[in-house]
């Protein structure tokens, strides 16, 4: 429970340090006539327009007092005198400037930026779509990985030189090369090769398929190592006892070794899931807009890195924390009868 409070505190602090930007402007020296100032506004990003709705009105304050007007509005001010002009709108950070005007007509634009909270809300749906892809890819990849990894992991321990060799080569290759390289190899490297083999142009593999296949194959190798280690961690006496009773190797594996290995494998499998949740962001190189990539694209659009990466981190935490809890709970429950 304490940990949750701590997370809350950290996130709260981050909100405080998120800067509210306002550009300064150099005032002109005054003259005799009145200064006629038309105050207009710019909202960035203009959420109302982006969503096809109505933008909130910007209230104008002069020297701290509400004028009762919303922008655009024209004021008559004393030239040369310094005013504090402030624009306020719901969900946006105030823009306020200390300013004085020369006589004559002026246009003055207040520029209000979405405040951090509203901005995060604004980009949240896009990030959630990314998170959905991340989560989906991870779940599918680790699920396939568990199937592949269990078979390959068993393949590494059974008494068959050929199977050992193939399984060993697979795990060595995958674990010995970066996931990024595997994605590039599969998605960009394979189609021309397939094309060459089939005598046609490049045989295209859709990015989503490439992503699922490479992540699954990658996860499979890591799960295989987990499974192998799990099987080998079971006391030799278990296999011997089973065989001495007349069970075949397969029966012993299935009824005696694997059920015990399964329990030991749960915590590292949980780690594998969390690792994959983070590593899956590498599929962004083949234009999969998962959570991290969505964050990057939004950053390139709005240049508000603090809010975006904070939101991305929070979403990741929302995916990993409950999961770590679940694994811990499973682990505890599995302890009985071991």
């Amino acid at each position: 429970m304490k940990r949750w409070i701590l997370w809350g505190l950290i996130i709260g602090c981050l909100f405080l340090v998120v800067p509210a930007g306002a550009d300064g402007q150099t005032p002109d020296a005054g003259g005799q006539e009145k200064a006629v100032v038309t105050v207009t506004t710019k909202l960035v990003p203009d959420v109302g327009l982006e969503r096809g709705g109505k933008s909130p009105a910007v209230e104008i304050f002069i020297d701290g007092k509400p004028t009762g007007f919303t922008a655009p509005h024209t004021f008559v001010l004393n030239p040369g005198q310094r005013y504090e002009l402030r624009g306020k709108a719901r969900g946006y950070t105030d823009d306020f400037r200390e300013i004085s005007f020369a006589p004559g007509e002026h246009n003055f634009q207040l520029s209000l930026r979405l405040n951090s909270f509203s901005f995060i809300l604004y980009v949240f749906p896009a990030l959630l779509w990314g998170a959905l892809l991340t989560l989906g890819l991870t779940v599918v990849a680790v699920f396939n990985g568990i199937i592949i990894g269990t078979l390959v992991g068993i393949g590494r321990v059974i008494k068959s030189k050929v199977v050992n060799l193939i399984a060993g080569f697979y795990t060595d290759f995958i674990r010995g090369t970066p996931l990024l390289v595997q994605i590039f190899m599969f998605h960009f490297g394979l189609p021309p090769l397939l094309g060459l083999l089939t005598g046609t142009d490049a045989v295209y593999v859709p990015a989503i398929i490439s992503a699922i296949v490479t992540l699954s194959i990658n996860s499979g190798a890591y799960v295989a190592e987990i499974v192998r280690a799990g099987i080998q961690s079971i006391d030799r006496g278990q296999m011997e006892a089973a065989r001495s009773l007349g069970l075949t190797y397969r029966q012993a594996l299935r009824h005696v070794i694997l059920p015990q290995a399964f329990k030991r494998v749960i915590p590292p499998l949980g780690n594998e899931f969390i690792a994959m949740l983070k590593d899956s962001s590498l599929v962004s190189v083949i234009a999969m807009e998962e959570l991290v990539r969505t964050g990057q694209l939004l950053q390139g659009r709005f240049y508000r890195s603090t809010e975006i990466w904070l939101a991305v981190a929070i979403i990741f935490l929302c995916m990993t924390l409950p999961f770590t809890r679940l694994v811990a709970m499973l682990e505890r429950r599995m302890k009985t009868g071991d």
Binding site: P191, A202, Y204, A207, I286, A287, Q296, G300, R301, Y303
Partner: protein, 248 residues
């Protein structure tokens, strides 16, 4: 609780330390660039080369700098990198836009560009921009190609890659129907790879490249602009232009 406080303190100290470490060597101009955009900036034999590269080197020379240090970065990290002070300026075929101007300052325009469409040679259906509607179009994420298509062509499925080379490879493999990027780049790719072709040689946007400088660093900006003007006057600019764009 105490341990957390101490940890937080150490963190703050580290951040302060890192911020204070932005030491600068006056003789060196540190330039951020994303070298995946031939012929403007790209890697050749382990070196970064291109029009932009030659230009900034000439500018630095004009400014009296002894050395130019190139820092290769991802496109997505190029403006944050400048803002963090990882380098002094950006030259990376960057179009001057309002959104970017809100973040950084730009030099005077040094190159006029516009978007073109690249397709596979056998493609006969895409004849102009409108034909992109309903198709998958590869772009580099957060380039003007991405922003323009996203804002102006709602029917296009914009496939955003990290770099332009990946987008072109995807086009060759058949994953997208077209690639949209700046004219110089599209033309370069079409010349380099005979299986690709340019749809029309007239760009459908007009854009200006600028050299990006951190806001407040007006001295550097003025120096760059002065050098740029000088290079245009003394013919060096044309020399560099001719070197990279032989015809016209």
């Amino acid at each position: 609780m105490k341990r957390i406080l101490v940890g937080g303190l150490i963190l703050v100290l580290l951040v302060a330390l890192a911020a204070g470490c932005g030491k600068k060597d006056a003789g060196v101009l540190r330039v951020g660039t994303e070298p995946g955009y031939a012929p403007m900036e790209f890697q050749e034999n382990g070196k970064i080369v291109g029009f932009d590269i030659d230009l900034i080197e000439a500018i630095a020379k004009e400014m009296g700098r002894e050395k130019v240090e190139f820092i290769a970065v991802d496109w997505d990290g190029i403006i944050p990198g400048l803002l963090n002070g990882n380098f002094d300026c950006i030259i990376s075929a960057m179009t001057i836009t309002d959104e970017r101007k809100a973040q950084i300052n730009f030099s005077d325009p040094y190159f006029q560009a516009g978007l073109l469409i690249l397709v596979r040679k056998d493609n006969t259906t895409i004849k102009d921009v409108e034909d992109l509607d309903g198709r998958a179009v590869g772009v580099q994420g957060n380039t003007t190609a991405d922003l323009w298509l996203t804002d102006n062509m709602k029917g296009v499925r914009v496939v955003r890659f990290k770099g332009n080379p990946e987008a072109v490879q995807e086009l060759k493999n058949g994953g997208v129907d077209a690639v949209v990027a700046d004219n110089a780049i599209i033309m370069w790719e079409s010349v380099k790879d005979p299986t690709l072709k340019v749809v029309s040689y007239t760009p459908f946007t007009v854009e200006q490249y600028g050299i990006g400088v951190k806001k407040g660093n007006d001295q550097l900006l003025d120096e760059i602009n002065a050098a740029l003007t000088k290079l245009r006057e003394n013919g060096k600019y044309d020399e560099i232009f001719k070197k990279w764009f032989k015809t016209e």
